[in-house]
Amino acid sequence: MNEILELLSYPFVIRAIVAGSLISICASVLGVILVLKHYSLIGHGLSEIGFASLSIASALKVPAMMVSTPSVIAASFVIMFVSQRYKTAGDIAIAIASSAALALGIVISSLTGSSSNTGAYLFGSVLAVSEGDLIFAIILSLIVMSAFVVFYNRLFLMTYNEDYAHSLGINTTLYQLMISVLTALVVVSGMRITGTLLISGVIILPAVTAKSLASRFKTLVIISGVVSFAAFIAGLAVSFAFNIPAGAGVILSNAAILISAKFLAMMIKRK
């Protein structure tokens, strides 16, 4: 108990808990849309593009956010557009872009001698959460939550059937862009904590867990947010207890909850 209280006395731990929790919740509610629209790979693609951009920022010695934010947002537009327009080709495009971006990031890190940072980029670090990151996370979560409240009916319809929304005269491209930008911002802010390799798991796993428990969109969004928050806290606790990277702890917690949820759903179905 004393150890926990001692940990909580460190400002970086508090920053990591608050920023990480907010980003996890944002990631998981956006993840509901991505999972239901069968865009699950997008988070993975964006995170590896994020890794390349972090390597470039490090090589150029400029603030990481300055490079990664615009490049991940731009990539999210391209990936969403290709996925929407060419369906199957979208998956192929993501696979090509993500592996090429990962390779590019590794090459840049090696050539510029910044490969010591590679591990931190790939697996994340709670020590990396600055006050600026915390403010960014608070603002981002306010935007994501407000968007879900104000545009809930639209997001519901867009997720169910974009073509039908379009036939009603709704500007579907605008909402698609909104989802793309928010996903990109969540990836950029989340990859500092969980790492570029694991942020896609924070987006997708809670939504998949919720999908096996909920039968309504609204419930799914709420369960996804709660699961993600719980998994983040549990993962962070595990990472402090066993001195393992926080991102790995969070993803393993999410995976454990997913398996339990699937088992629970199976048991309920049998009854």
């Binding site: 519901f156 169910y160 073509d163 036939s167 009603l168 709704i170 309504r216 969109f217």
Partner: protein, 208 residues
């Protein structure tokens, strides 16, 4: 003259392939048009073009703003965490409206009652049969109070009772001035509707 749809010299392509070639069509209030043709003739393409889901390569399209489109039912339409009422309510959404009003809820209730699915209102859509889901999509279209209704094979998989309910609802809409375009394969659909025309699509062109 109450024109609900005016399509002039419309061309729709998929890549280099011209599917709809120089098609013109006018539909007036209270008029019903049946669109027939063999598989792949471009019936659904024409309907999707009119619904604004496919761009016209050339030509002009003028139509009522209050338009509802009932697409064909696909397996993927069932794979979503929602109940019947939630899906029906989406039919009331419009460009500048973010929240549902009391009138929208009443319209949804009325539409479900008209299509005899009010007892399904809380059912998850994944538990519905194809015929039931078609009626849900029709109710969704109705609650938008359409002036122009586009139906893409709404009778496929409907039993006799559902078919009767559907045509009863369509007759009422026509009487209230709604114009209807219906893609169909069944000859039996073509009889008995007043003020109706049949157009056949072949080779990307229409023949009356």
């Amino acid at each position: 003259m109450n024109e609900r749809l005016n399509l002039q010299h419309a061309v729709i392509r998929y890549g280099d392939n011209i599917v709809i070639n120089d098609v013109s069509l006018k539909v007036l209030a209270g008029e019903m048009i049946f669109i027939t043709g063999v598989n792949g003739s471009g019936k659904s393409t024409l309907t999707r073009g009119i619904a604004g889901l496919l761009p016209l390569s050339s030509g002009t399209l003028t139509r009522s703003e209050r338009m509802s489109y009932v697409p064909q039912v696909e397996e993927a339409d069932r794979d979503f965490p929602a109940c019947v009422r939630e899906i029906v309510m989406t039919g009331t959404q419009r460009r500048k409206k973010l929240f549902y009003s009391r009138r929208d809820r009443l319209n949804a209730d009325n539409a479900m009652r008209e299509l005899k699915i009010e007892n399904l209102s809380d059912r998850e859509i994944k538990t519905l049969s194809g015929g039931q889901l078609r009626r849900v999509f029709l109710a969704r279209a109705l609650c938008g109070e359409p002036e122009l209704l586009l139906l893409d094979e709404p009778c496929a998989g409907l039993d006799i009772e559902s078919h009767r309910i559907l045509f009863g609802v369509l007759e009422k809409l026509l009487a209230n001035g709604c114009a209807i375009l219906m893609v169909t394969h069944a000859d039996s659909d073509l009889d008995g509707v007043k003020n109706s025309r049949v157009i056949t699509i072949s080779g990307g062109k229409i023949h009356e």
